[in-house]
């Protein structure tokens, strides 16, 4: 008998055994009566975090019938401004709007971005923030037009171009309400990839790309990117930020599919015990 036929026979046998297991479960209400500790163990063995299911509530069920949370949320850059060729007044405005952004005071952020673009009209970062503020407040077309202008006016500045590609990926995700089609997913991943080509230091882009790689089925790429990105300061925090923000935006964001695809050490770091590969850290060295 050929190996192919043997494999097919085994596959069909397994399939039939599964059907028997499902029918026993249905007829004897096994799932309804297993000890909950055993349920937790089985979920973990399938790569599903029981804690994620614990977070669902009856209120969440009822909320799904009402307007869902705005898919847009702020990513606040921590890039240092010291070496940027712009006045200290403009830098101060950037620092202020970052502070406001962390507090989700987006209308005030928009006002400050308008001030920056008047004060320093040649400063790409002012325009990028202006675009971002428009997007956060729901004005996606305006945000996109600004991104296109930045791309034209600052095509020689790698950081600016990287920010544009990230912005375009972000807008596409928001337009799809974090539930993109397969085609959109591929477009989104390409945009984030381009962003990193121009500016590999963008840790939030890395986090977004990891997530979109998984959602588009490119799990191996996501794992490679995780390994590479782990050496960038801020990447873990950005990853937590993205998982949290997207997870709060409901089932459409599909974060339940993302975590199981991560390497176990990374999954624990993001969601579990915090145990890391290679041992713990001396608290004195955490700086």
């Amino acid at each position: 008998m050929s190996d192919t036929r043997k494999q097919e026979i085994t596959r069909r046998a397994i399939s039939e055994l599964k059907r028997l297991a499902w029918d026993i479960d249905t007829d004897f209400e096994v799932t309804a009566n297993l000890p909950i500790a055993e349920i937790d163990e089985e979920l973990r063995s399938m790569g599903v975090a029981p804690e994620r299911l614990e977070a669902l509530s009856f209120e969440w069920i009822l909320e799904q019938t009402s307007p869902s949370k705005n898919p847009a949320y702020a990513y606040i850059s921590n890039e240092l401004l010291a070496d940027e060729q712009v006045t200290s007044d403009a830098k101060l405005l950037i620092l202020k709007l970052r502070h406001l952004g962390r507090q989700q005071r987006y209308p005030e952020v928009l006002e400050l971005t308008r001030q920056i673009t008047h004060l320093a009209p040649n400063y790409w970062r002012g325009w990028i923030n202006y675009s971002g503020a428009q997007v956060l407040l729901g004005n996606l077309p305006e945000g996109e037009v600004i991104l296109d202008r930045i791309f034209c006016d600052y095509s020689g500045d790698h950081k600016a171009v990287g920010a544009v590609f990230h912005g375009r990926g972000n807008v596409k995700e928001i337009r799809s309400r974090l539930n993109p089609s397969e085609t959109e997913l591929m477009e989104i991943t390409k945009l984030y990839e381009e962003a990193l080509k121009f500016d590999p230091s963008r840790t939030n882009t890395r986090a977004c790309l990891v997530i979109n790689y998984v959602l588009s089925g490119q799990v191996e790429k996501s794992r490679q990117l995780i390994e590479e990105s782990s050496h960038y300061e801020g990447f873990f925090d950005e990853m937590s930020h993205e998982l949290r923000e997207r997870g709060e935006r409901g089932y459409a964001a599909k974060m339940y599919r993302v975590l199981p695809a991560f390497p176990m050490w990374f999954r624990n770091l993001m969601h579990g015990s915090g145990a890391v590969n290679g041992g713990g850290l001396d608290p004195a060295t955490v700086a």
């Binding site: 026979i9 085994t10 069909r12 046998a13 397994i14 399939s15 039939e16 055994l17 599964k18 059907r19 028997l20 297991a21 499902w22 029918d23 026993i24 479960d25 249905t26 007829d27 004897f28 209400e29 096994v30 799932t31 309804a32 009566n33 297993l34 909950i36 349920i39 937790d40 089985e42 979920l43 063995s45 399938m46 790569g47 599903v48 029981p50 299911l53 614990e54 669902l56 509530s57 009856f58 069920i61 799904q64 019938t65 089925g217 409901g250 089932y251 599909k254 339940y256």
Partner: protein, 179 residues
């Protein structure tokens, strides 16, 4: 007695978060054990629709016939099956499909080989072996109809048999958790 949608809403609203979490985990286990690798389905979506089907009156729960977890699992399975059928694919291809085909020597030979393989897998557990033999004779026979034909067995023995079957499948597939 079938409950009204308003009565169901009241019951669900009175569940503590701990009770709701346990319920969700049971339904989650039911879902992931069947559809873990089915990318076209979404647990949160199916869970929500299962609950909502109780709340909008399209499905009626009779607590005397099934507990809440069992009812929700059934609702979820029904909605998932409907979704997958709409997508023009069946969730599970069983030997039954082969058995309804016009008989040919080749298909009979393969079916026999498959059943022999199955019997070998479960040969060390008399309950599972008995159930498989029933299935060989009638692929549509359900476990609830098999048990009365077997020497008196307890529900705990059925659960033990189910756990044994699950472990065997995990080993055969070489995965951590698919049933």
């Amino acid at each position: 007695m079938l409950l009204l949608a308003t009565e169901v809403r009241e019951i669900l609203g009175e569940l503590t978060q701990d009770q709701f979490s346990k319920l969700t985990k049971r339904v989650g286990f039911y879902y992931y054990s069947r559809y873990l690798n089915e990318p076209r389905l979404d647990f949160d979506d199916l869970l929500q629709r299962s609950f909502l089907s109780m709340l909008d009156g399209s499905r009626h729960w009779d607590p005397e016939r099934a507990d809440l977890a069992t009812f929700l699992c059934g609702a979820l399975r029904s909605i998932a099956s409907h979704d997958l059928t709409k997508m023009k694919n069946l969730p599970h291809q069983s030997l039954e499909a082969e058995f309804v085909e016009p008989g040919s020597e080749e298909s009979d030979l393969i079916a026999n080989l498959v059943w022999n393989e199955i019997l070998e897998f479960v040969s060390d557990n008399w309950l599972l072996r008995s159930m498989v033999e029933f299935r060989m004779a009638d692929p549509k026979m359900m476990p609830r109809d098999m048990v009365p034909l077997l020497p008196e067995i307890s529900e705990e023995e059925v659960y033990r048999g189910w756990r044994c079957l699950r472990e065997k499948i995990k080993q055969l597939e070489g995965t951590g958790g698919l049933i």
